[in-house]
């Protein structure tokens, strides 16, 4: 009886590795720097995690289909640049700027979808290509010059809903909730999981795999643009290096949150949300504990690697726990002659 309880506990722990890691990281940094436990700190972490979190939500959709979108960072740059230029040069209002930003992002995602579903280029190469091309187009528009956003955007970025919760956090949580609803409650959501589990079977079951893939890359493009806008709204300018390397954080957040790169497994709530906040928490925590700035990336990488390692280990262990026993104990033989 004791062993089954322990096994049960082990299984429960293994199924919630990201939550456990989250708590461990939180407590460790808190003990090292007590200020870390302040509510204000947590708000800052959430706020800074919001834009990567939004991008990671789009990435989760893609990863669920066993795909990858490396172009999100470039997408953020292009869409924010174009929106900035529209607002700066044409004096367009903020709402129009946001609309332009999101439209460019979706168009970017649409190009990825076209390359992947029509031209049949594998996602890794297709989005690697658009990552480079996208950056080039962005620089062509901006001429490598910083693009300032109107002050009204900056005000928006630092405003609070009901004077209480910072707007970026509201947007982040709202998007996460909506995404999770789409994934679990709508036909397209369940079909995304189906395609990720077995694309060939999905085709045979009469699903339009092309349509499902198209929608996830467009969602990823949309989320990249929205994440970019939320980020610029906190910084006020689009600098030429904006968005670079963000694809790594977005992928890491999704994977830390339990999404499998083989597709079909993962969630936005709590998964990716937890992953995005965890990454930001590590980075903020390292600053709080005054770790050498040149060592910080190494520690971040080490934590991400260990999470992924833990995940692989978890899958092996879960498989072992689930493997059925062939032998029946001699004592239990009576009445169990059923194989």
């Amino acid at each position: 009886m004791k062993t089954t309880n322990r096994q049960h506990l082990a299984q429960l722990a293994l199924q919630n590795t990201s939550l456990l890691l989250f708590i461990v990281v939180f407590v460790v940094f808190g003990l090292l720097a007590p200020r870390f436990f302040a509510l204000q700190t947590f708000e800052t972490i959430l706020k800074q995690a919001s834009y990567i979190g939004i991008v990671a939500i789009g990435m989760t959709f893609v990863i669920l289909t066993a795909g990858i979108d490396l172009s999100v960072g470039s997408n953020m740059y292009v869409s924010a640049t174009v929106a900035g230029l529209v607002m700066q040069e044409l004096k367009a209002p903020v709402w129009l700027g946001l609309l332009v930003c999101l439209s460019v992002g979706m168009l970017f995602g649409g190009v990825n979808a076209f390359l992947i579903t029509r031209v049949k280029i594998i996602p890794f190469i297709a989005t690697l290509g658009t990552m480079v091309a996208g950056k080039g187009i962005g620089l062509l528009f901006s001429r490598s010059i910083q693009i300032p956003y109107p002050d009204s955007v900056l005000e928006l970025g630092s405003s609070r809903l009901f004077g209480l919760i910072p707007l970026p956090i509201v947007i982040f949580l709202g998007v996460a909730l909506a995404a999770q609803l789409v994934l679990t409650m709508t036909p397209i959501g369940r079909q995304i999981y189906a395609v990720g589990n077995d694309a060939e079977a999905a085709k045979k079951a009469g699903l339009s795999v092309g349509r499902v893939l198209t929608s996830v890359y467009i969602v990823s493009g949309l989320m990249a643009a929205l994440g970019g806008f939320v980020s610029v709204a906190q910084q006020g300018v689009v600098h030429p290096g904006f968005g670079e390397g963000y694809e790594f954080n977005a992928i890491a957040a999704a994977v830390l949150g339990g999404a499998s790169l083989f597709g079909g497994v993962g969630s936005v709530l709590p998964g990716t949300l937890l992953g995005a906040v965890l990454i930001q928490m590590i980075q903020t925590g390292l600053i709080f504990t005054k770790v050498d700035i040149y060592i910080q990336p190494l520690i971040t990488a080490a934590i991400i690697f260990s999470a992924v390692l833990l995940d692989a280990f978890r899958n092996i262990q879960l498989q072992k726990l689930r493997r059925r026993n062939i032998r029946i104990d001699k004592g239990a033989l009576v009445g169990a002659g059923d194989d």
Binding site: G206, I328, D339
Partner: protein, 503 residues
């Protein structure tokens, strides 16, 4: 003959210039079970794929209830009331039963884009009751056994009110009890008015279920009639195109007394217990057991794929410790797994590359030097020819284009290049037709004659009795009894397998 629900009218189909169907005309009877038999590659699956909307015929047409029927996709076929239950099931293991059933047409909550879960659950419950699977509609498919998953596929067919249900080799991964349940279900579907096409290599099953039988050979229909007109021997003769005098080739050599594989007290908690036996040079040693008796698990342990807690293995007299697949291969062991599609072959790469996979290092002086391509391909071609692997250009064509029997031969060929001292072969004839079975038995015989010790694992007692020198019977992860050839007696062996008193 009876009224037809679906008619094939001179259909033809070619792949890569090979004519697979050569003008077949066949009536699928309404409200009956049609047994469809033929060797691998005879065209059964292709014919059914036309019906199921997977492929379109090059020539000829199909009539459904007298009207032209030309499905372009599997969902067209479903919409026309035709369900195809494939050998490899088409389910999403990460989704629930209810989600699997409604995956291509989810019911929605009125005007919302949301799933109507309660409606799905209620409908699914009803279908699950109809197939006598008593689990919750919210159960994830990954938690179900192969037999239960198949019932889910059938429930799915019921969900779109299929009038024709095609079963392609449905019993290959089922236990005896699950098979029995499936047969009862098929009979009930028929009495409810459904038309069934049942494809199988297990001819007694076909005799039991079918009302009519159709036999295909080399893309042509060679016979079709009421079941009463057929016997198993006649079916085999029609399938092969000649009468087969024997199902098993005669042994041409006798086992020696030199041990090649000695297993002493191998145990692993919950899996196997105190396994002890010796395999000799030139011997074919059968391992018989029911599903879940531990036979395949033992094979995996011996080959070093799974760990064991206790015990000793000696290969060719030398102690063999810390087993791993690589070390097993180096020690002269070969392992043909029961699962050729997932574990035995790289389905998308060429036949020759698959055959060369294990022996590849031998064709280069060092890991980073170039492979001696000429010697490599010559030897691969020789092995392929000696096993009579049929089905196209070795270096161009992907293994997945081969029929089941030829795929199995490719797996065996992979190991023959290395001339193993011990061959562990698990269920080599599953899903393989009569002609190819005979060839596989012959290959095993030849290997034994050349001195290889063969550990032949199977759940088909007849073939073990026909081929082996000796037989171990397993159940509950233990060896229950050992029989030498002159002691082979079906009833005693079965009794041992069912864990009753054997001696």
């Amino acid at each position: 003959m009876s009224d037809a629900i679906l008619t094939f009218d001179h259909v033809e189909k070619s792949f890569f210039g090979v004519r697979v169907l050569k003008g077949i005309s066949l009536d699928v009877p309404r409200g009956k079970v049609l047994g469809l038999v033929g060797e691998n590659g005879a065209g059964k699956s292709t014919l059914m794929n036309l019906m199921g909307g997977v492929h379109a015929p090059d020539r000829g047409q199909m009539l459904l209830n007298g009207a032209p029927y030309a499905p372009r996709t599997p969902s067209d076929a479903n919409a026309a009331g035709i369900a195809f239950i494939h050998q490899e099931l088409n389910l999403f293991t990460n989704l629930s039963i209810a989600e699997n059933i409604f995956i291509d047409g989810f019911p929605r909550l009125r005007w919302l884009p949301m799933l109507d879960r309660s409606h799905m659950r209620a409908r699914t419950k009803q279908y699950l009751e109809a197939v006598e699977l008593h689990v919750s509609p919210d159960t994830l498919v990954e938690k179900l056994s192969p037999g239960e998953r198949q019932l889910v596929e059938i429930a799915k067919a019921l969900s779109f009110d299929a009038r024709i249900i095609i079963f392609d080799e449905p019993t290959t991964s089922l236990t005896a009890r699950e098979t029995e349940r499936l047969f009862r279900l098929i009979e009930r579907l028929r009495s409810d008015g459904a038309s069934i096409v049942y494809i199988s290599h297990i001819l007694p099953d076909v005799m039991r279920l079918a009302d009519e039988i159709a036999v295909l050979r080399d893309g042509e229909l060679v016979a079709h009639g009421d079941k009463e007109a057929f016997t198993i021997n006649r079916m085999i003769a029609l399938m092969v195109g000649r009468a087969i005098e024997q199902l098993y080739p005669p042994r041409r050599s006798a086992p020696t007394t030199t041990p090649v594989l000695e297993v002493q007290d191998i145990s692993q908690q919950g899996i196997v217990e105190a396994i002890t036996f010796t395999l000799h040079k030139g011997e074919i040693l059968g391992v018989f057991g029911l599903m879940g008796s531990g036979r395949s698990e033992l094979a995996r342990i011996l080959f070093g794929l799974d760990e064991h807690a206790r015990g000793e293995i000696r290969v060719a007299g030398k102690p063999y410790t810390r087993p791993s697949a690589r070390r097993s291969i180096d020690a002269g062991m070969a392992f043909v797994t029961e699962n050729r599609r997932e574990e035995g072959l790289l389905m998308d790469i060429a036949i020759a590359e698959n055959i060369g996979l294990v022996a590849l290092p031998r064709y280069a002086a060092a890991t980073v030097t170039a492979v001696n391509e000429r010697r490599y391909f010559t030897e691969i071609t020789d092995v392929a020819a000696s096993l009579a692997i049929k089905g196209g250009e070795l270096r161009q064509q992907a293994v997945k284009t081969l029929s089941g029997g030829n795929q199995q031969k490719a797996v065996i060929a992979k190991w023959l290049l290395d001339k193993p001292a011990v061959l562990i072969i698990d269920e080599p004839t599953r899903g393989v037709d009569v002609g190819a079975k005979y060839e596989i038995y012959s290959i095993i015989n030849d290997l034994a004659a050349a001195g290889t010790g063969v550990l032949f694992i199977s759940s088909e007692l007849e073939e073990l009795m026909g081929v082996c020198d000796r037989m171990l019977v397993m159940s509950n992860g233990e060896i229950q009894a050992t029989f030498s050839r002159d002691e082979f007696e079906k009833e005693r062996i079965l009794r041992a397998a069912f864990r009753e008193n054997a001696a």
